[in-house]
């Protein structure tokens, strides 16, 4: 009998320890969706909207009738869409009902501040690397608070290829230094 009590106690202790360990190891995520990141890590700069386009609901009203057929859109002519554009269009990422939000592939709505979750659906490795600080630029403290940039700060989500840059001047050649 005594032995049995001891065993039960041992099991209980083991279970408690296991619970403790798992709660330490696995960061608590707000939901089980793609790209759930420990919240204290992510402090992103505000999304890079072009001037005057946000909130979208200023022009797109909730009770508007929406044509869900993929097509070229006249009004947003400043948007050059070249991002798997054969198979996708606006409403694959932008939500038709709630215009100020984006939606994931399963329909869950996300704010523009969390657009990295949307990008991570296809670019999972990049999302993992970004979370770890491997992909993309960070500023701040190597040992403390860091500022992240959203994917969209560097990659235009509508046409993500980088524009080339003009380099700063080359060093002066040694023979030209006086």
């Amino acid at each position: 009998m005594k032995m049995r009590t001891k065993l039960i106690l041992l099991y209980a202790m083991l279970a408690a320890t296991a619970g403790l360990v798992s709660s330490l190891d696995i960061p608590e995520s707000t939901d089980s969706g793609a790209g759930a990141v420990p919240e204290d890590l992510i402090a992103v700069a505000p999304p890079p909207f072009s001037e005057g386009v946000f909130p979208c609901s200023d022009c797109h009203f909730e009770d508007d009738e929406v044509d869900l057929d993929p097509r070229e859109v006249d009004f947003h002519d400043t948007v050059h869409f070249d991002h798997a554009s054969d198979s996708r269009w606006c409403l694959d990422c932008h939500d038709a009902q709630n215009r100020d939000m984006l939606h994931l592939a399963d329909g869950r709505l996300i704010p523009f501040e969390e657009s990295y979750r949307l990008c991570g659906q296809c670019h999972a490795q990049q999302l993992r690397d970004w979370e770890a600080g491997d992909h993309g630029r960070r500023t701040g403290e190597w040992s403390g608070t860091k500022q992240y940039l959203l994917c969209a700060h560097c990659h235009d989500p509508h046409s993500p290829t980088f524009e080339s840059l003009t380099p700063l001047p080359p060093p002066i050649r040694q023979e030209e230094i006086k």
Binding site: D134, G136, W142, C154, F162, L165, T166, P167, L168
Partner: protein
Amino acid sequence: MSTENPADCQTVNRREVIKTLFTLAAAYTATGCKREADSLSTFFHTHFKEMSPEKLASTMESWERRYKKRYNREISVNATPAQEGVLFGYALDVSRCIGCRKCVYACVDENNQSRDPQVHWITVLEMDNKHGIDLRHADAYYEAEKVPREDKFYFPVQCQQCENPACVKSCPVKATWKDPDGIVVVDYEWCVGCRCCVTACPYGARSFNWARPNVPAEEINPVTEYLGNRPRPQGVVEKCTFCMQRSRNGKYPACVEVCPVGARKFGNLLDPNSEINYVLKNHRIFILKEELNTQPKFFYYFSI
């Protein structure tokens, strides 16, 4: 004809000279003239590593006074020690670098390098895809309308903060050494300007001040380190310190923060959860001139 013993004559003269010197020194101290005291302390300076805490503090203050006089603004001079349990490492993603040279000039601004004559701590090399990483086919002076150019890639080189630094071994006066956090520093007051280290460094990472460094007063970064980015005298060698005035206070170096493509990674090699360790674990890393056994803590990789 004098029968005086020449030896006596010498003794008297030396004694008088020494006496005069002491009187002068006493007079300087008595007048409490900081400026003279500053130049005297330069004359009788101590090796950085042998300074007592009091001497260290007074030396920093003395330099702050001198810079205030020279540049007419407040410039702080610090001797921040290496943090315990920290060994700095750096990784650079060669496949992302676009050769824009923003890092070069961010470094110049942050670390008070001479503008004219020009001193750069970072050299960005343009290399040919067909030759790969081959320094015989590298061009530091590329001029382009737009970068990256076709069939080229870019390879920035700066101090590799070697674990086994050739420059430190070559210094005849021990004016340069490796601090506990891995940063190789120079004591500008101890450097004799022989440039042995410049020739010993296999990475071309050290620069010599042939002329008096020239930085406009309004462009000086006023947060400085004694062994780092404080304005340098003429005739000494200088080099990258991983922005010690930033990194020893927890911040990323300036080149890391300015890189528009996020190709530069920095952190504590001894912290298993650091960004730098994630990079080192998840990419195939290489070091420059591995065969020389300098053991750089500056790593390169191609992520794509």
